[in-house]
């Protein structure tokens, strides 16, 4: 579904953040991306969604090269990106946030809204509240709900568990599995390696802009070097 052929990305001329990343995401998968701070995880998502441009390499989505397209066109192709820090529209209501998520695809708005509300019942209770007044967890759900309003084929989540209480983290990861079971492919970038490896079909480990390891979620979870580096040893 999504293929990256040795993409490299730099900030400015000198600072290379991603080098020669090649990977693929198959329809129906949950793919996790783990790695420490500054490994390039967020940069990778921003590159796929078109917020950043590749220096070289190709990104192919459903047989179409997308690395030169502007971000809003990529969004229309069915790639939804929930950015780090959620970026909800703080001064709009929950409902308006969700509606803007469906800016491109406006048919069956209500059905989609119902779907999102089934996934996140709390958003239904909060629907006329301003986005900025929600708690962190609710904002994360809103950001995910907004992305789902466009019925994306590929949903990319950047640190969905960041700054959330453990209980909520659990809930978010459950929801990710649920979204996936309804047929959406997911690409999840996480610092919380344990949780994300547990739900991921496959995972990549990123270190200073390079993929150093890949494998099934299960395998990586038990891989000694991953355990040592990201799971706090055993």
């Amino acid at each position: 579904m999504l293929e990256c052929h040795s993409i490299s990305v730099s900030y400015g001329k000198k600072i290379r953040v991603l080098s020669e990343i090649s990977l693929q995401v198959t329809q129906g998968e949950i793919v996790a991306f783990i790695g420490g701070n500054g490994a390039g995880k967020s940069t990778f998502l921003k590159t796929v969604s078109g917020l950043l441009k590749v220096e070289k390499g190709k990104i192919v989505f459903e047989g179409k090269e997308i690395q030169t397209l502007p971000a809003h066109k990529i969004a229309c192709l069915g790639i939804a990106h929930v950015p780090e820090g959620r970026k909800i529209f703080a001064r709009l209501t929950v409902l308006e946030n969700l509606e803007l998520g469906a800016f491109r695809e406006r048919d069956q708005l209500r059905q989609r809204l119902e779907k999102v509300f089934t996934l996140f019942p709390i958003l239904k209770d909060r629907r006329s509240q301003l986005g900025g007044t929600l708690s962190g967890g609710e904002q994360q759900m809103l950001a995910m709900g907004r992305a789902l309003m466009s019925e994306p084929k590929l949903l990319m989540l950047d640190e969905p568990s960041m700054g959330l209480a453990p209980k909520l983290v659990e809930k978010i990861f459950q929801t990710i599995k649920e979204i996936n079971s309804q047929g959406t492919t997911l690409l999840v970038v996480e610092q919380n390696a344990h949780q994300s490896l547990a739900i991921a079909h496959r995972a990549y480990v990123l270190e200073t802009g390079r993929i150093v390891l890949e494998g099934s979620g299960e395998n990586l979870l038990h891989n000694p070097s991953v355990q040592e580096a990201y799971l706090g040893g055993v």
Partner: protein, 327 residues
């Protein structure tokens, strides 16, 4: 509920404003018709800038430049012999073109930087008008001796008195209000809201941010051009003096004090800020006339202290999915 009341308020206001001239025409108060017309032009400008500043959230400090460009190009066309309609139409074209040419590079900038560049553009425009003698006749203004700007003729009716222009401007302002409201609640209005709130999130929701910003930037200059053309056809005279930086600041204050993004707020702000000094000028007269900006300034400070969100804070209408059951 709220919708009904605001429509009622609008109709009542409109009725008062359209009947008002019948009472004062011919009396010693007839000068207020002229003031009303001037205030109306400011309302038009404020509505225009509100699209850029209030709806799209772009901080534009040089809006008067486009009022000037509209006014000057309409003057030149009118002196050349075109009637009101053609000169207005072509002045809109020129104004919008220049606006978009400025917008293309400048809209990449955000916040303060955009304010600085638009401020600069405003000053450059005024300096060009002041110095491009062969076209603008410099500080002496247009028309030159021996030339003239024609009045406005609607079918066979020639607008000559202030009361005529009062009604024309009232009608245009009313039309501008309808258009503003329609724009705000349209799909593009929703895109503007999204861009104003968070550009990255808007882009990721599939909104073509740059194009949407350009549209808002361009649309606001249409209002400025129309105001400019009305102004010169009424005054029949224009100098660069009318388009100082101070004027741009005034229009921005109208919006900020009235309530950013709120149409009724912006209109109240425009009426207050352009009306108060004009009225004070007449009322105070004589020695007190120099106090008018002091009183004006105190009023502004009071508004900011007691209504920090503006006179009539923005109450965005619920979008399409808005609740039916909750109100």
């Amino acid at each position: 509920m709220r919708k009904v009341t605001s429509t009622t308020v609008l109709v009542v206001n409109l009725l008062i404003l359209s009947l008002y001239p019948l009472f004062v025409q011919g009396t010693s108060l007839s000068y207020t018709l002229r003031l009303g017309g001037i205030v109306g032009l400011y309302v038009l400008l404020a509505l225009g800038l509100n699209i850029t500043l209030g709806l799209v959230g772009l901080f534009d400090l040089g809006f008067m430049a486009f009022y000037a460009i509209g006014a000057y190009s309409a003057s030149i066309f009118s002196i050349g012999g075109w009637n009101f309609w053609y000169s207005t139409l072509f002045s809109i074209l020129i104004t919008v073109t220049l606006r978009l040419l400025l917008g293309a590079p400048v809209l990449r900038l955000r916040g303060d930087y955009l304010a600085i560049v638009t401020l600069g553009f405003g000053e450059i425009t005024r300096l060009i008008l002041n110095n491009w003698d062969s076209v603008t006749n410099g500080p002496k203004g247009l028309p030159r001796v021996g030339e003239s700007i024609s009045g406005i003729k609607i079918w066979n009716f020639e607008l000559t008195e202030n009361i005529h222009y009062y009604y024309l401007i009232l009608a245009v302002v009313f039309l501008a209000m309808i258009i503003s409201k329609r724009l705000e609640n349209s799909r593009i209005g929703r895109a503007w809201t999204a861009v104003r709130e968070d550009e990255t999130a808007a882009e990721l929701s599939g909104i073509p941010v740059t194009r949407v910003k350009m549209l808002g930037f361009g649309a606001s200059s249409v209002f400025a051009a129309i105001a400019g053309s009305l102004f010169i056809h009424w005054e029949k005279f224009v100098t660069p003096e009318s388009f100082t930086f101070w004027e741009s600041v005034l229009v921005v204050s109208m919006i900020v004090l009235g309530g950013i993004g709120s149409m009724s707020g912006v209109i109240s702000g425009a009426i207050l800020i352009s009306g108060i000094p004009l009225l004070l000028q007449v009322l105070l007269g004589g020695d007190f006339i120099s106090y008018r900006y002091l009183i004006f300034g105190i009023t502004l400070v009071l508004i900011i202290l007691f209504r920090p969100q503006g006179l009539v804070p923005s109450q965005r209408q619920a979008l399409e999915l808005g609740e039916k059951d909750s109100k």
